[in-house]
């Protein structure tokens, strides 16, 4: 997106204020401090957390429980059975064991790139916007240029030039991070620009605080939800990017990730041999992990943009009202007299609904 950010883009700092005032209007105590930066628990968030937790646990623990993923047996391409829960590959390797190690590899690279990309985008986005002037212009131009240069082709070209033996985990991670920080840096810049001119930031500057302190103590806390959301997104993008890279045979040498599994499946003609148990699990793992992270991200988005939260609360109210109406209609049809229990209950609930 190379256009100027729309003026109505929500700013996190405002969002917190608005949430607090909304809570105060309802007569509740506004949530204090850090609690306000935590997402509200919803079924979707819970599902996302469970998905991410289970897959992370699988990636961390399962490699110790399964056998050696490289063992070659003479039972090639057996469908899932009690001996091999996910069947075997063409050369008789246990797919479940491979999946366990591959999940660990993918999670590692996702985490690594997520951290690197977030640090890069924070530096270029926040520091540039804070300094302003020529630094800001230069950083902003740089991120805009990186934004329009297509990432994966660039990664492919870079990996193509690096000889296979020197293509390690870190090389791939750095290349992926270098091509994925730009979009987040732009968003951070817009947010920082709006926070930078707040009175308390000016006060801190006037008081002679050092720039790094103003950024870390005064500005950064306002941007935490945005950073968290970008980190989560960077992890998804990194896992997807690495999988794509490995799938075309350009991944890190000697690494085992979900992408390399798919690479071997494709090159072992799993598709034309109909060995679905070989190529379905790795992709499904990526998809489920990505979905889990996205669901978590939606909840973080609600902090950044409270209108989304209002929508959810509104919908909840609408559902409750509809249910109440149905109950009322049902009791009316049954001809329950006015002093009946049902109408009594409805009466006592109605003001509550109205007051919300």
């Amino acid at each position: 997106m190379t256009n100027v950010t729309p003026a109505n883009e929500p700013v996190v700092a405002d969002a917190a204020d608005r949430l607090a005032s909304a809570a105060a209007e309802e007569g509740r105590r506004p949530p204090r401090g850090w609690r306000m930066l935590l997402p509200t628990m919803t079924p979707w968030l819970a599902l996302g957390l469970v998905l991410v937790a289970v897959i992370t646990l699988f990636g961390v623990v399962a490699p110790y429980l399964v056998g050696d993923p490289q063992t070659v047996r003479d039972q090639g391409l057996t469908p899932p059975s009690s001996q091999f829960l996910l069947g075997t590959t063409q050369t008789g390797q246990d797919v479940l064991a491979q999946l366990a190690f591959a999940t660990r590899g993918s999670l590692q690279i996702g985490l690594l790139v997520g951290v690197l990309a977030t640090v890069l985008s924070a530096f270029f986005g926040i520091y540039g916007a804070y300094r302003g002037g020529i630094v800001d212009e230069a950083f902003s131009l740089l991120s805009n240029v990186f934004l329009v240069i297509p990432g994966l082709p660039l990664v492919i070209v870079i990996s193509g030039f690096v000889p296979r033996e020197s293509r390690g985990l870190w090389t791939i991670a750095v290349v992926l991070a270098l091509t994925s920080w730009a979009a987040s840096a732009r968003v951070l810049r817009a947010q920082t620009l709006s926070v930078r001119n707040r009175d308390y930031v000016a006060a801190a500057k006037v008081a002679g605080e050092k720039p790094w302190r103003v950024i870390v103590v005064e500005i950064l806390p306002n941007l935490l939800p945005v950073l968290a959301s970008q980190f989560v997104f960077a992890v998804i993008a990194a896992i997807l990017g690495e999988a794509g890279l490995s799938f075309i045979g350009l991944g890190a040498a000697n690494s085992s990730t979900l992408g390399t599994m798919l690479f071997y499946a494709q090159n072992g003609f799993a598709l034309s041999l109909g060995a679905w148990w070989w190529f379905v699990p790795p992709g499904l793992m990526i998809a489920l992990f990505g979905t889990g992270l996205s669901l978590i991200n939606f909840s973080i988005d609600e902090i950044i943009n409270p209108k989304l939260k209002n929508l959810r609360l509104h919908r909840k109210r609408a559902r409750r009202a509809a249910r109440l109406e149905r109950e009322l209609a049902r009791s009316a049809r049954r001809g329950v007299p006015a002093d009946g229990g049902a109408s009594d209950g409805a009466d006592s609930r109605a003001p509550e609904v109205a007051s919300r």
């Binding site: 997106m1 190379t2 256009n3 100027v4 729309p6 003026a7 109505n8 979707w44 131009l141 805009n144 240029v145 934004l147 329009v148 240069i149 297509p150 990432g151 994966l152 082709p153 660039l154 492919i156 070209v157 870079i158 990996s159 193509g160 030039f161 690096v162 000889p163 020197s166 979009a183 998804i236 997807l240 999988a243 794509g244 799938f247 075309i248 045979g249 798919l262 494709q266 598709l271 034309s272 109909g274 679905w276 190529f279 790795p282 992709g283 990526i286 998809a287 489920l288 990505g290 979905t291 996205s294 669901l295 988005d301 943009n305 209108k307 989304l308 209002n310 929508l311 919908r315 609408a318």
Partner: protein, 329 residues
């Protein structure tokens, strides 16, 4: 400075950055691409004269006789003359010819499916955001799942289900190889048949992102005062949806086209690999496996050019749609 001039200026800078990156990458990274390339060339029966060596050295580095600055200028000069060198894997074809032959496949496939995905996603997103609480809401988690699925894996699954199990579409290639490429009905029919699966992959994988973005903007727009005013005036819901809400909500989606296009191009590179599609992505990967560095760089330049060009068009259109962008600059 007017909005349009500024945008043009930005894209000139972006283009220059891409060209320079292309110049710098082979020089910054380890390995000696020129020697590998020339060895390949000799295997193919090409004669390696000092001139050929010099031409490749300009493109890929490794020539120490000239200062870097002169190399850079000659490199830019070669590019502007359209001289990208000779492809090793398709020797003796020129890189530009190889690219030109595969470009139409990708442009038609990726272009059409991106537009379909964008229109479909924006329309669905508008309705989901407009009427919260209907069954359409279930599209949101479905869209999330689709957005998190790796492109090429979706391609594998679709190929397995629709091509291998059901046999509706051909598994691989861009056309039936017994036919001669040309503008006749039989060939076009075969090309369309082969293109449906890759196109379906691109549409399915990218529609979720459009849907989510549009829905979120729609939700934000619907709580604006002017929508409330429109409702109070008693305008029909359809008119509010069309002229008040979705018009404003669609703006970030239009502007976001830039980012999404990069993703789509990236995704389609790998998708083409799955289907052995004769497009530009397949060429790029073929070039990588064959150490055909000249073709690799040429393809990267073309992809970048295409993405930059598409972005420029979208940006200029955006200036027309949203007067605020022009006013601000």
């Amino acid at each position: 400075m007017s909005y349009f001039l500024r945008k043009l200026g930005f894209y000139v800078v972006a283009l220059w950055a891409a060209l320079t990156l292309n110049f710098a990458i082979p020089r910054l990274l380890p390995g000696n691409p020129v020697d590998i390339l020339l060895a390949k060339l000799q295997q193919r029966g090409g004669s390696v004269t000092p001139e050929t060596r010099e031409a490749y050295a300009l493109l890929l580095g490794g020539d120490d006789s000239q200062p870097l600055w002169n190399q850079y200028l000659s490199y830019l000069g070669n590019l502007f003359r359209g001289d990208l060198g000779v492809s090793v894997s398709y020797y003796p074809a020129k890189v530009s010819d190889v690219i030109m032959a595969s470009l139409p496949w990708t442009v038609v496939l990726v272009g059409l499916s991106t537009v379909i995905a964008a229109v479909l996603g924006v329309l669905l997103g508008a309705f989901v955001g407009w009427r919260p609480g209907t069954w359409l809401d279930s599209l949101v988690p479905a869209g999330t799942l689709l957005a998190a699925v790796p492109y090429f894996w979706l391609a594998l699954i679709l190929a397995y289900l629709l091509a291998r199990v059901l046999g509706w579409f051909p598994l691989q290639g861009g056309y039936d190889v017994v036919l001669d490429p040309g503008w006749n009905g039989e060939f076009i029919l075969s090309a369309v048949q082969h293109g449906i699966l890759p196109a379906l992959t691109v549409v399915l994988a990218s529609v979720g992102g459009w849907l989510l973005g549009m829905r979120n903007m729609m939700v934000s727009t619907l709580s604006e005062d002017y929508v409330l005013t429109a409702e109070a005036k008693g305008l029909s819901p359809l008119k509010i949806l069309r002229s008040y809400a979705s018009r404003n909500a669609v703006l970030p989606s239009v502007a976001g086209f830039a980012i999404s296009l990069g993703f789509v191009v990236s995704g389609s590179v790998v998708t083409e690999q799955v289907f052995s599609y004769p497009g530009i992505g397949g060429r790029l990967l073929g070039a990588v496996t064959n150490n055909d560095y000249a073709l690799m760089q040429g393809v990267f330049l073309f992809i970048t050019l295409a993405v930059l060009g598409a972005n420029l068009v979208v940006d200029l259109l955006y200036g027309l749609i949203d007067p605020r962008t022009r006013a601000r600059s």
